[in-house]
């Protein structure tokens, strides 16, 4: 699992808005040594989501989903995404993104069976994204 990111923040009224572009290279079927087949007969789909997790002065824990995708059984289990923009606005509850060095991006997925338990799995490998100390007003997204 590899992600490359470029990011900056823009001032938006009272809350920081973060802009992140990323690449995702993932092989869902063969993520780890000894990983059993994840798309077995009882798996209808995987709901994949890329989430950012960080701490701020206002809130001890923040999690924001930046991007998601539904992968049906039969779809190509390998992801080669480049220069993706986040699907959802990355607003902080306050101004906690400016200068935040410890924003971690993780890829996770929800296994939806044909019937049965609905587990949430976190992929191995995560990327830390430091946000700059200043706001960016000139870049377009």
């Amino acid at each position: 699992l590899r992600k490359n990111v470029e990011d900056f923040t823009g001032p938006r009224e009272r809350s920081d808005l973060g802009f992140v572009t990323f690449d995702i290279t993932a092989d869902i079927l063969n993520g780890e040594k000894g990983w059993r087949i994840i798309f077995d007969w009882n798996v209808k789909q995987l709901f994949l989501y890329l989430s950012a997790e960080y701490s701020t002065k206002n809130n001890a824990l923040n999690q924001v989903v930046l991007w998601d995708k539904i992968m049906l059984r039969g779809d190509n289990p390998r992801l080669f995404l480049k220069d993706m923009k986040s699907k959802y606005f990355f607003f902080d509850d306050g101004n906690g993104l400016k200068g935040n060095r410890n924003v971690t991006l993780t890829l996770s997925w929800n296994v939806v069976p044909n019937a049965g338990i609905l587990p949430l799995v976190t992929g191995s490998g995560h990327v830390s994204v430091p946000f700059p100390d200043t706001y960016e007003t000139t870049k377009s997204y």
Partner: protein, 187 residues
């Protein structure tokens, strides 16, 4: 066995049976019925305690979580305080003042040191998040709005409840047949 009851009904023998049933047998059947209802209620209450949810089993009512869940699917919920709410989870929540539970996914959370959490949800099949669904002026959901988190599901089975809700005549027919079956059941 059920098949003999059905045959008995068809040949109208059951009418004679009912007449022949003396008072004691009738009381016995009524008590039997009461026991079945009480056991069912106890199991339901037990489930409520074990899962921590006021409604441990819910039926999906809309298509806003397709293709994962469809109308009529049955969801099994837990609402244990030890399980913190995290993004990606499927939550069933109620908007203040409204009865209908909504099944969507958590998109954002902001949690304070003391555990107070506010979060935003969105249906997989919806283009936008749920802010438009919340009460006027409400921007976030809180723990108190949550009925439970979906931990497992079975497809299709809940269709019966939806049919009973949408077609009251069907509900009465089902209840009538059930009552008839219990009264006539010979075991």
């Amino acid at each position: 066995p059920p098949s003999s009851s059905v045959l008995a009904m068809l040949s109208l023998d059951f009418l004679d049976d009912v007449r022949r049933m003396n008072k004691r047998q009738l009381y016995y059947q009524v008590l039997n019925f009461g026991m079945i209802v009480s056991s069912a209620l106890m199991i339901w209450k037990g489930l409520m305690v074990v899962t921590g949810s006021e409604s441990p089993i819910v039926v999906v009512l809309s298509g806003s979580m397709e293709p994962a869940f469809h109308r009529g699917d049955l969801l099994f919920l837990t609402n244990r305080i030890e399980d913190p709410i995290r993004v990606g989870e499927i939550v069933v929540f109620r908007i203040e003042g409204r009865e209908i539970p909504i099944v969507h996914r958590v998109l954002k959370i902001h949690e304070k040191q003391n555990g107070d959490i506010k979060f935003l949800t969105k249906g997989d099949n919806n283009a936008v998040d749920d802010r438009g669904l919340y009460k006027r002026g409400q921007h976030w959901l809180e723990k108190k709005d949550v009925v439970g988190r979906a931990r497992g599901f079975v497809p299709y089975i809940g269709i019966v409840t939806i049919l009973m809700n949408d077609y009251p005549k069907f509900k009465y027919a089902v209840l009538f047949l059930l009552g008839l079956f219990v009264l006539v059941h010979r075991e």
